[in-house]
Amino acid sequence: MNTAVDRTGREAGTPYQGPLLDVRDLHVEFVTRDGVARAVNGVNYSVRAGETLAVLGESGSGKSVTAQAVMGILDMPPARIPRGEIRFRGRDMLKMGKDERRRIRGRKIAMIFQDALSALNPVLSVGFQLGEMFRAHHGVSRAEARTKAVELMERVRIPAAKERVNDYPHQFSGGMRQRIMIAMALALEPDLIIADEPTTALDVTVQAQVMDLLAELQAEYNMGLILITHDLGVVADVADKIAVMYAGRIVETAPVHELYARPAHPYTRGLLDSIPRLDQKGQELYAIKGLPPNLLRIPPGCAFNPRCPRAQDVCRAEVPELFPVAEDDGTPLEGRRSACFFWKETLHDR
């Protein structure tokens, strides 16, 4: 049924085998009055159908900007993409025409935003905003769109969906609003969903429900999911693999449990150590010293070096590539990479 994508696939008949999304050497810059802020500096990642990639990092690490570049919703200018590829089912979306790009948005790749209250249009009913997806992409009638909207609301388990379809965003609770956002993203059963801090604005008790719902629906539709978060707890439950970002670069990638057990980058190590643990009650909580870098003046060498307990001269001189991580005996650890010259030593830290 996916006519638009069949055309974008290599040849008709041979199903596309590669990853759903493949980001290669992506660079994003913002032109500000004070100079050029390098928000993303050569990011590579890929997501397969049914797979969940968690992108972890502080604000300003470039995780959201990368996602917005994938989604094609960066304001350009001030943003610009000087280099890189964003391949969706093998085709570079950066080379597509505006209209082709638009038809992928919402239909093939959908996004869930952090703050549903501001992300939903305050003056349109939720039913209208949900139905708009079907009207814009499938050209269905207003009445049909409304029926579909009710179905979607039921799908994300909003109670009394039929009665509430004409309500406005501000009339819903935070959790319900985020469900509506999820419903909107799911509307056209996209191949890939990008969730940007989907639970951060919610109460702790509601976070779990929303996360579970998202994970469940992802499994059901076999979608790829990019989960952007700064919350290590959210990641652990649902992600298959993690990419940790710092100053616009990926500094470490690993399958989720391995990253937790044995981080191979001092930054990841610091993040994990700054989590309060019950067995260390009473001890002083670890904090990474210093501040994240100013993106207008990223330090030379490894961007983390001014804050790194391991920093040597080489770290200040050279930008480390993403080294493959292996055991001491040389057996490679699959899917593990670290942008640290001293990944081996870091791996052994405990």
């Binding site: 913002f30 500000t32 009055r33 004070d34 802020a37 928000a39 990092g57 502080e58 604000s59 300003g60 470039g62 959201s64 900007v65 917005q68 001030p78 952090q114 703050d115 501001s118 940007d196 801090e197 951060t200 604005a201 702790v204 976070q207 779990a208 700064h230 919350d231 290590l232 707890g233 959210v234 652990a236 439950d237 937790y260 993040l271 700054s274 989590i275 309060p276 643990r277 019950l278 904090a287 501040l291 994240p292 870098p293 100013n294 993106l295 207008l296």
Partner: protein, 332 residues
């Protein structure tokens, strides 16, 4: 004015999160939020005040600098008009100078802009006319800022019944258009000076500032530092003037600056209608009014006071615009 510091974040600041228990029984904890730097706001990493920020921004705006220079010139002109011309603005010469055309060679001289229907130097009258306009503008603005600022502060701070009563009074005054009300008020005085006009405009004009101030106070009142101040037992006066006022004053200043130009225009309109300033006060409005009789034959009699008036109003509005843009980056 909504929150000023957050406007271009790509990642809205969430509540500092305490996450749920994860699978291993360990507790997940949000990465510390306060230390984060946004790509686009990275330039704000140094702690800077709103005013410092605004000032840095203003200094870089040519429009702001231009308007400031113009306003300073006008103020100097209002205080020391004789420094700009030797001519007597009231000296009429119906024999020699009656409606003489502008003489560009008479640079800064009495005949530079020509002579009006009574043979008075238009240049001198333009220079001396600045005093009435600037006085009215500045004093009306000062009066309405104090009057409206106080009532708005009281209404916003006390809320409830006090607010309801003040708000209705404000509504009542707001229902009367400034020009209309001023016409009725001023008509009661047979002799009117600059101060009569100031009084009339102040009495009728304070409501705008009161509304703005009330709104600003209502917003600021809810902020954490005011709540904290209250919890720590700060007195009413201290809360109002130390905690609330400095944070609510920005929109008031913006509105007041822009309104200043409006008051100058209103004074000129009233004088033009013959119900504002009177001879011997020199006012651009009066001069424009008397120029209408000779507009066909001697348009320059109307042009110069009209240009001076427009430039003055423009200067204040441009300055107000620039200040608003600097104080509220959202509107950029």
């Amino acid at each position: 004015m909504p929150d000023i510091h957050d406007e271009d974040s790509f990642e809205p600041h969430p509540k500092p999160g305490i996450s749920r228990l994860d699978y291993a029984g360990e507790q997940g904890m949000a990465v510390e939020q306060e230390t984060l730097v946004e790509p686009d706001v990275a330039k704000r990493e140094e702690a800077r005040s709103l005013w410092g920020d605004a000032w840095r921004d203003l200094r870089r705006r040519p429009i702001f600098l231009l308007s400031v220079v113009l306003i300073l010139l006008l103020v100097v002109m209002a205080v020391f008009p004789w420094a700009f011309t030797d001519a007597n603005p009231r000296k009429a010469d119906l024999v020699h100078d009656y409606l003489r055309r502008p003489d560009w060679t008479d640079f800064f001289g009495a005949g530079w802009f020509g002579y009006d229907a009574q043979g008075r130097s238009i240049y001198a009258r333009v220079v001396y006319g600045a005093r009435a306009s600037i006085t009215v503008g500045i004093f009306v603005t000062a009066a309405v800022t104090v009057l409206g600022g106080l009532t708005g502060m009281v209404a916003g701070y006390y809320g409830r019944a006090v607010d309801a009563v003040i708000s209705r009074v404000v509504d009542i005054f707001f229902g009367i258009p400034l020009l209309l009300g001023a016409l009725v008020l001023l008509n009661a005085f047979t002799t009117r000076t600059v101060w009569t006009v100031v009084l009339a405009l102040a009495v009728l004009g304070w409501t705008q500032i009161a509304r703005v101030m009330r709104g600003a106070v209502l917003t600021v009142k809810q902020s954490d530092y005011v709540v904290a101040g209250r919890a720590l037992g700060a007195g009413t006066g201290r809360l109002m003037f130390r905690h609330i006022l400095p944070n609510a004053v920005a929109p008031v200043i913006v509105v007041a600056t822009i309104a200043l130009g409006g008051y100058i225009a209103t004074e000129a309109t009233l004088s033009f209608l013959g119900i504002g300033l009177q001879d011997p006060t020199i006012s651009w409005g009066i001069d424009i009014s008397s120029a209408q009789k000779v507009i066909r034959t001697a348009p320059y009699v109307l042009f110069f006071p009209a240009a001076a008036l427009s430039a003055t109003v423009l200067a204040f509005i441009m300055m107000g615009d620039a200040v608003r843009d600097a104080l509220d980056p959202k509107l950029r």
